[in-house]
């Protein structure tokens, strides 16, 4: 697992409108360009907040990332407080 690469890409999606647009519109293409393993690509594309949090993604990266997708605070907290499957 390359938590650093995963967090770095989430930060870029959060910060950079061009990267953000590519994440929304050409997800697979963007993810293929980054040094992520298959599982990391899957949970990021699926926006599996529970798994992303369990992998160690910092809350101040993950919560803004979830806001991009209009995830409410209760839904976000329910996701990260649960046990990953």
């Amino acid at each position: 697992m390359t938590l650093y690469a995963l967090q770095k890409l989430i930060r870029e999606i959060n910060r950079d409108p061009a990267v953000r647009t590519r994440f929304f519109e050409k997800t697979d293409e963007l993810l293929a360009e980054h040094d992520l393993d298959a599982e990391e690509r899957r949970v990021l594309a699926a926006r599996d907040y529970r798994k992303l949090y369990a992998l160690g993604v910092h809350g101040l990266l993950l919560r803004p990332f979830s806001i991009l997708h209009q995830v409410s605070e209760p839904d976000y907290l329910e996701a990260i407080r649960g046990e990953p499957e």
Binding site: Q7, R11, N14, H58, G59, L60, P64, L77, R81
Partner: protein, 272 residues
């Protein structure tokens, strides 16, 4: 000439971005408290303002982290967050004062990082929007790494603050010092929404009493037990170091559930 002003203020985004989510009496206490701090700052007729602040993956990421970073630019801009409901502005930088702080620190074998370019996020823009709404007082932002372990110890922040205080006193200008961040909150983490009010009240009492011994005894883990965001109180401890002998007054404290943050505002009396 002297340190002409000192205050501390929390910076939860809700303070400006979702104000009305807070109960009206809490909002009113925090807004009238901020107005009092603003009025006192205006009366102090500051030439320059030092900010002990924190940031939220805005300038720094895990590719490069400074434990303490002194901004040495001639100008800054912010906020980076388009949703913050603070108009994007350019804020003048007090670069000469920044150079003096760096020179004094390095002369004492204390080596903070430095940056010629920093973007301001809500952590810095919220205090400025309340305290210097015209954003016309030149600033030195000092960003403490409150995010990525290992963070600097409270003791090291206190000692760095002492150096900043010495420089401010020798500066020949009217210098204000503001700490921002905290209090108890756990943003984006499992305990988001939990506010350790007992911790906040104890910390406020120690700041009010100018109890440097108690403040220096904290560990990062002690602060983090009140939520990851409580580590931002490192900036308050640095302020205590800068002021040396001081007492404080809690201008407002509210545990604001809808903002998920213990919000503290303090003013200080100290030897100039």
């Amino acid at each position: 000439m002297s340190i002409a002003y000192a205050a501390a203020i929390s910076h939860a985004p809700g303070y400006v971005a979702w104000v009305e989510a807070a109960p009206p009496e809490q909002k009113d206490a925090l807004y009238s408290g901020a107005e009092r701090l603003r009025g006192e700052l205006a009366a102090a007729e500051l030439d320059e303002l030092i900010l002990f602040t924190s940031e939220h993956w805005t300038n720094f990421f895990l590719d490069h982290v400074s434990p303490i970073c002194v901004g040495r630019a001639d100008a800054y801009s912010g906020p980076v967050e388009p949703w913050l409901k603070i108009e994007r502005k350019t804020i003048p930088g007090a670069s000469e004062l920044a150079e003096e702080i760096l020179a004094a620190a390095y002369a004492q074998d204390v080596q903070p990082g430095f940056a010629q370019e920093l973007a301001f996020d809500h952590g810095t823009m919220i205090p400025l929007s309340f305290l210097t709404p015209a954003m016309d007082v030149p600033v030195v932002p000092i960003i403490v790494n409150t995010l990525a372990p290992p963070q600097p110890s409270p003791e090291s922040c206190y000692r760095f603050g002492q150096i900043v205080g010495e420089v401010a006193r020798k500066r020949g200008k009217r210098v204000g010092i503001v700490a921002t961040g905290g209090m108890s909150h756990d943003p984006g983490e499992r305990n988001h929404g939990f506010i350790d009010e007992a911790f906040d009240h104890r910390f406020l009492e120690q700041m009010a009493a100018g109890d440097a011994e108690a403040l220096r005894r904290y560990s990062v883990a002690d602060l983090g037990a009140a939520g990851a965001g409580a580590i931002e109180l490192l900036g308050w401890i640095a302020l205590a170091g800068a002021l040396g002998s001081f007492s404080g007054e809690v201008v407002a404290y509210e545990a604001v559930k809808p903002w998920a943050t213990g919000m503290g505002l303090m003013r200080f009396d100290f030897a100039a």
